[in-house]
């Protein structure tokens, strides 16, 4: 029985947790793909270039931006967690920290998006 669950969640630190977890899973699953793609360079630049040409497709560009966003979110959220866990920082300013982390990550993703298109 979970009459409570979703109404009990949904506060800022909880969303920060969910974003951190989902971005981490996405990045972990992407990693082997990323390494496999780079390994194509073993065939010389031509092999890697053929793959990189594929990455100009709009869907792929969108996925790249999403991945960069995931990476940036996981980084900034992770820094916040390291701060909370290792510095004894109590919760009152947490909402500000979450806002800063989220904003910084989105800024990074926008910077990437503007440069990749």
């Amino acid at each position: 029985m979970s009459t409570g669950t979703w109404r009990n969640r949904g506060h800022p630190a909880w969303w920060a947790f969910l974003v951190h977890r989902l971005s981490g899973v996405a990045l972990s699953l992407f990693l082997p793909v990323h390494f496999a793609a780079l390994s194509r360079a073993l065939d010389g630049p031509a092999g890697l270039d053929a793959f990189l040409a594929w990455t100009h497709a709009p869907l792929v560009v969108a996925s790249e931006i999403a991945l960069v966003l995931a990476l940036a979110l996981h980084l900034t959220g992770g820094l916040r967690l390291l701060l909370v866990e290792f510095s004894g920082w109590r919760s009152e300013a947490q909402k500000t920290a979450i806002a800063v982390a989220g904003g910084a990550a989105v800024s990074l993703a926008i910077a990437f998006a503007l440069n990749v298109v």
Binding site: V25, S28, L31, A41, L42, V68, G78, L79, F112
Partner: protein, 112 residues
């Protein structure tokens, strides 16, 4: 797994996180700069080919992520899929080894 070992794994997770924070900061900056005007193999390889510096940097990156990612996935699997115990530990350790080997291969590919 003993509480002692689990504590050490937690510490490894946090230490690798700190290393990754630095690596990812560099990686994100590099990506944002490098992707301008389109990304080609020549761009990437021009930076990494024969470079001991980039090789060492990516080696550190791969080692840290080979520790960090499997430990994270292990927790998610335990909490959301109920998949825990020795089989789970073995599978995620194996994932770590796979990431390490694939990462090593990728580094070799771009630094040769």
């Amino acid at each position: 797994m003993s509480a002692r070992l689990e504590t050490r794994l937690w510490l490894a997770q946090r230490l690798s996180a700190a290393v990754l924070a630095l690596c990812v900061a560099v990686h994100l900056t590099t990506m944002i700069v490098a992707v301008r005007g389109g990304l080609t193999a020549t761009d990437i390889l021009g930076r990494t080919r024969g470079s001991l510096g980039w090789g060492a940097f990516y080696a550190l990156f791969v080692v840290a992520v080979s520790i960090h990612a499997p430990l994270g996935l292990r927790t998610v699997a335990a909490e959301w899929l109920g998949f825990r115990g020795r089989a789970a530990d073995a599978i995620f350790a194996l994932f770590g080894v796979v990431v390490f080997l694939l990462g090593g291969l990728a580094i070799a590919a771009v630094t040769r």
